[in-house]
Amino acid sequence: MSETGLFLDRVSIALNGRTLLSITHAVAPGEVLTVMGPSGSGKSSLLAYIGGFLDRAFSASGAVLADGVDVTRLPAEERHAGLLFQDALLFPHMTVAGNVAFAVPSLVKKRAERRIQAEAALAGVDLAGFGDRDPDTLSGGQKARVALARTLVSSPRMLLLDEPFSRLDAELRRQMRELVFERAKASGLPVILVTHDEADAEAAGGPIVRIGV
């Protein structure tokens, strides 16, 4: 068992007494583990369990270790799991910069400093100068990039991706994939990608686990 990265130790999720999935797997920093399966197979519940927000209707067991620390008993807000869903889910009542600044770790106390970090993160996804915009006025691709910047600026321990590219058209999808995987590798983040798109799995280049088949 490696000390760095993410380790899923006999994680098992069941609904109404029926086991949906069981998985034991290590994900090294910068590596992408792709989980594939049909809808209803419980792949999103796996991310929910790791992130700490699994619906109580499910019963789950097994441990999640991040850099050797068992986070299974921690509340969601202490796990630092960066999440990307198929919708960007930008907070509709904050500006673009407000969304990103919300994610700047609380150690950074000064308002101005938080704002600077947010602007820098936006510039990192080619959205410099978009800070004052209403998120609802952005294009789909821009929203996705803001969501990525918001996640990365929070210094996450891991990235959990729930079909994050499926709403984008083919060209954007390719660009977003590259951007996300490149940033994850650069930051040394273990990534779990849930998808039913073979092209996603291929682009991820990491191990593939198939469930529910």
């Binding site: 992130g51 969601a76 807000e77 960066g82 919708d87 889910l89 907070f91 509709p92 996640t151 929070s154």
Partner: protein, 559 residues
Amino acid sequence: MLTRLGPPVAILLLAGPILAGLAGTILPAFGYLPVLGGGELSPQPFRELAAEPGLLTSVMLSIGVGLAATLVSVIVVALFLAGWTGTRAFMRIQHLVSPLLSVPHAAAAFGFAFLIAPSGMVVRLMSPGLTGWTAPPDALIVHDPAGLTMTVGLAVKEIPFVLLVSLAALQQANSRERCILAASLGYGRVIGFLHTVWPSVYRQIRLAVFAVLAFSTSVVDVAMILGPTSPAPLAVRVVGWMGDPDLSMRFKASAGALLQLVVTALALIAWLGFERAGALVLDLLRDSGRRLRRDAVARTTGLAVMSVSSAVVFAGLATLVLWSIAGLWQFPSALPREISLRTWQNALPRIGGPLGTTFVVAALSAAIAVLVAVLCLAREGETGRTGGRGALALIYLPLIVPQAAFLFGLQFLFLLAGLNASLPALVLAHLVFVLPYVFLSLSDPWRVYDRRYDAIAAGLGASRLRTMTAVRLPILLRPILVAAAIGFAVSVGQYLPTLLIAGGRLPTVTTEAVALASGGNRRVIGVYAVLQMALPAIGFVIATLAPALLWRRFRALRV
């Protein structure tokens, strides 16, 4: 966690006053009330009650008016939905009807009375041209002994309520697809809707319909304004005995309150029979396979009655405004000869106190209700369990148990505790009725909120409190304020709880307005009724404007 307190507090606020109040009604009804010298149980109060002249008529009036008003409201709404769902006329009516929900019953009833009385607006508009009348005809329209005016007055006010709860249910019933399916099988629009959509809609609005029925069988203020007087419906008489200076009358009043409980229960049982009959008719029609494609008459009727009923409320309210600023206004004239603010000027010095009380009690009870509802809903999210049918029944309990039946007892308990006629007691009594409406209004938007926002915020390291205050509550600001405005409007409209718990020492605009009913000074009534509807309207304006201003920069939050 604070949210843990939500459900128990809600149960205490809703069930506590009702159970304690019922106990406080039942004991004196059987002669037990040591404070007033009733030391042992006896059937004497019921004997006195039975000896009341015209008691059976009062009982029959309560049941008859309640059933008729409810039946009319439900049929009109069903017919309107069946004929017009998804059309432009439907949208227009929906926008027209929504604001009517906030109009207190008493104000709507006064408006209706001013409209249809022999010297009212309708007759004035037709006289003397069409009728030749130069003096008001001598007819008993308002307060008619059969309660027809009261029935119609209740129905026009309940139709908007039934329509709005049906709209919420309609969204979950796949009405569009089902109607298209029925049409493709050759069914007429109205019968297609009634066969495929209405049953699932009705199942969801059933408790709200029960609440309408219970309210209509036991209402006091509307009955005093529009209802028969000799004898009056049961609830009015019971409240009269309750207010009698002769304290020994209270035993009879308690027995009457218990009878009111039975009367409402009987009406509910009769309603269950109506439900069966309605289902049977629909079943027979369905099994006959008749397509009933020529339904123009039914469709037109639905739209016409719906439009007229909302127009009646609006016209009534306009008439109230007119009377409040009328100078000399002789009979056949449709408009006053002069406009004057004299009535307002004369009333203002006396109105400040009641206005302040109305505002403070409504604001406090709405704020507390929103807080408790938010805690309950947040708790529901944490545990992943909604209260289910049990919780829903509890929420509807205060709306289905007749007010008189438990408010009498509650008044006794507050008296014993030395709390009667105090602001906290009044807020507590209003909360029993405010909390259900606030909860019902907030729960749907709360439950459709995308909880992935919370997951993302938590993943970004935000604490639960920060996620709640910085993400969820701001996103839900509009529905929260709307729920608060509904709670505020419900509190403003409360007559009986205010009358009984405040004991005349904390009058509100509503108790003052109803007290003026027998005096018949239309100008002063107009002033109070206008204030009565203005307060809730201001609440809704704030609930609409505040989010629009706060979130003016954010398109997704605009409506």
